[in-house]
């Protein structure tokens, strides 16, 4: 039996972006409904690490958004009933070679120019900040404002709070078509029936391309796979979130910071490590194009393990208990796609966050809520518009 439902705003996608948009919309009193094809956090938001990593962002609009987003986290942590394990632990980017240090210094200069509090630290300071780092590491850049969070709990917490504020959450509900008449969104056809609405937010992550097609627009989001290893829980070994300099190289294509082995270059692999509140260490990660495949692969696992042993020798004898892979919604320039779409009133995009969905979720949700309810945003989101790809 198909019933006819309705909502003021429908958010497609129950990942961190959709949950955050619903949270901010519900806070403003909007009647909002999340439509999720599977379960909450069943895509990238439940298969990633929890880095809130300003150091890795590109100075400019990307960095500005990430910084605004980070400012929202403490309030969210207080507001949600779920413990999102937010910890302002700081971040380190490690460099092993003299060239690495040189490139890192140039990067730090750029970041400082953008107003970020980041500094180079030598081997002495590193002993204090990251006692587990290998003696061969020459230095690191350190950003004290960076933080970590539990991404799954963040997603569930935001969705739960939105629900408490009146939002409806439809899981196992697949969008089959979007009905647009006179250039205006009217209705969603879903596996659970018809939903009448005049405003739709597409926060469907890697499913955004498919959703876009229903509205006859091309949303250039493709899945990019990231593989991660999980160790057994142990006492605190890592005080901060940690990456190696090639992370910046891979992420931003910075010269002199590429991974140093052929294998790693092929997998887009750079080293990241974080210790969760439970004590497990998450080790990452790759950036591969493998369609919608979420298998973990022996090459990636071996290379990640090798990185871990080389950068953090103290973890060598820890047991790995699991590997997993998540598909990041990657956009051609690695930046999110936000805002309205020309020619379709009532259709909003909040997708393509690539590897930054967790850290950008709060600000994305906030701006989307402003855009949907007021028609304007407190930050300029034009650099993220879909039209930049035309």
């Amino acid at each position: 039996m198909m019933e006819v439902l309705s909502a003021e705003v429908v958010v497609i996608g129950g990942g961190v972006i959709g949950a955050s948009a619903a949270y901010y919309l519900a806070r403003e009193g909007a009647e909002v409904m999340i439509v999720e094809a599977e379960d909450l956090a069943s895509g990238a938001s439940g298969a990633c690490d929890g880095f809130l990593f300003l150091q890795s962002k590109i100075p400019g609009p990307h960095m500005d958004m990430a910084r605004e987003s980070l400012r929202l986290f403490p309030d969210i942590a207080t507001d949600l009933e779920v413990d999102i394990e937010y910890d302002r632990c700081g971040s380190l980017v490690l460099a092993r070679t003299a060239e690495g240090i040189k490139s890192l210094k140039a990067q730090v200069k750029k970041l400082k120019g953008a107003g970020l509090e980041v500094e180079m630290v030598g081997q002495e300071d590193l002993k204090e900040l990251c006692p587990a780092a290998a003696p061969g590491i020459k230095g690191a850049s350190y950003c004290r404002d960076d933080a970590q969070v539990n991404p799954t709990k963040l997603t569930l917490g935001l969705a739960k709070k939105a629900q408490d504020l009146g939002a409806t959450i439809m899981i196992n509900c697949r969008v089959e078509n979007i009905i647009i008449t006179n250039d205006r969104v009217r209705e969603l056809r879903t596996s659970a029936g018809s939903i009448h609405t005049r405003r739709v937010v597409c926060a469907a992550g890697i499913g955004s391309n498919q959703i876009g097609k229903m509205a006859i627009i091309d949303v250039p989001v493709m899945p990019r796979k990231g593989q991660i290893l999980v160790t057994e829980p142990v006492e605190r070994i890592l005080k901060t979130i940690v990456a190696d300099a090639s992370y910046l190289g891979v992420k931003q294509g910075i010269e002199g910071l590429e991974p140093d082995t052929e294998e790693a270059r092929k997998l887009g692999l750079s080293f990241t490590a974080e210790q969760t509140k439970d004590g497990n260490i998450l080790l990452g990660s790759t950036r591969e194009y493998a369609g919608f495949d979420t298998e973990t692969t022996p090459e990636a696992i071996k290379t990640i393990a090798r990185n871990a042993v080389e950068f953090l020798p103290r973890v060598s004898e820890l047991d790995v208990i699991r590997s997993f892979a998540g598909l990041r919604p990657y956009s051609p320039d690695g930046l999110p796609i936000l805002g309205t779409v020309k020619g379709i009133r009532g259709f909003y995009l909040a997708t393509g966050h690539s590897g930054d969905g967790i850290s950008l979720a709060p600000i994305t949700g906030k701006l989307i809520a402003e855009l949907v309810l007021d028609g304007e945003t407190s930050m300029d989101i034009s650099p993220f518009s879909l039209s930049r790809f035309k």
Binding site: G46, E232, P298, V309, I321
Partner: protein, 252 residues
């Protein structure tokens, strides 16, 4: 009933757990210190038979019924085991003694048969048997009744008899009730259930979680367990150190 041991060393305690998995109900149940976990949760239990009082708490507690208690009495052995199959042998029944591979060893007679105090459907059974056979007996079967299939209701009661606070996942201590709430709230994929309840995300990675219970819970909620996509096995299948995964030797 067995009272406290009159003299130490009266009982022989056999523990047949071959896997090092996070499991400690036997040690927690033992009040005399006869069973302990030496190093960590994954260690196999260490037994000090001289401290055993024969109280049988460990047999009742063991989730996989792999503990056996032996006592020498008048030239033969009294073997006590936890039987998790139906039908339950009765006092006075002659039973076939079987070894770990199910081969017939000989005959014994039931001197005591009691349903477990816990609501687990287990039967705590004491069998008199020749000493040489008792030591290698791992299960028993009622003569002539072995082929009899238990009534479905009784078999079902056996499974759903598990208490609501029964930890389906022992590593993360996810209870049956927690799983039930999540499934009833609409979770339809086992891997999402895992993410939401942490079931199967601990040290053993679901290797010792009860597939059956999960299946039963999905069925109860009216969804097809086959479509729930039981969490898939992934590398590593059992814990492996980072050094080993990296392909390095200890010296490198």
């Amino acid at each position: 009933m067995r009272g406290p041991a009159e003299k130490s060393g009266r009982y022989k305690l056999l523990m047949e757990c071959p896997q090092e998995i996070p499991c400690d109900p036997c040690a927690s149940a033992c009040s005399t210190g006869a069973i302990s976990l030496e190093r960590e949760l994954c260690s196999r239990p260490r037994v000090r038979e001289e401290l055993c009082s024969g109280c049988l708490s460990c047999l009742e507690a063991c989730p996989v019924s792999c503990i056996y208690l032996m006592e020498e009495v008048e030239g033969s052995s009294l073997l006590t085991l936890a039987l998790d199959r139906l039908p339950r042998p009765r006092k006075g029944d002659e039973v076939i003694l079987k070894d770990a591979r199910g081969r017939e060893l000989g005959r014994g007679r039931v001197v005591r048969s009691k349903k477990s105090r816990k609501d687990s459907g287990l039967c705590i059974l004491t069998v008199r048997a020749p000493s040489d056979l008792a030591a290698i007996t791992r299960t028993v079967e009622v003569e002539g009744r072995g082929a009899e299939y238990p009534e479905p209701e009784e078999a079902g009661a056996h499974l759903s008899g598990r208490a609501e606070d029964f930890s389906v996942c022992r590593c993360e201590e996810t209870s049956r009730a927690t799983l039930k709430v999540a499934i009833e709230a609409g979770v339809r994929h086992a891997r999402n259930l895992r993410r939401l309840t942490r079931m199967g995300l601990g040290l053993c990675q679901g290797r010792s979680c009860a597939d059956l219970l999960l299946k039963e819970l999905f069925e109860q909620a009216g969804c097809d367990p086959a479509k729930a996509g039981m969490p898939r096995a992934r590398v590593p299948l059992r814990p492996v150190t980072l050094r080993e995964l990296s392909g390095r030797t200890r010296e490198e």
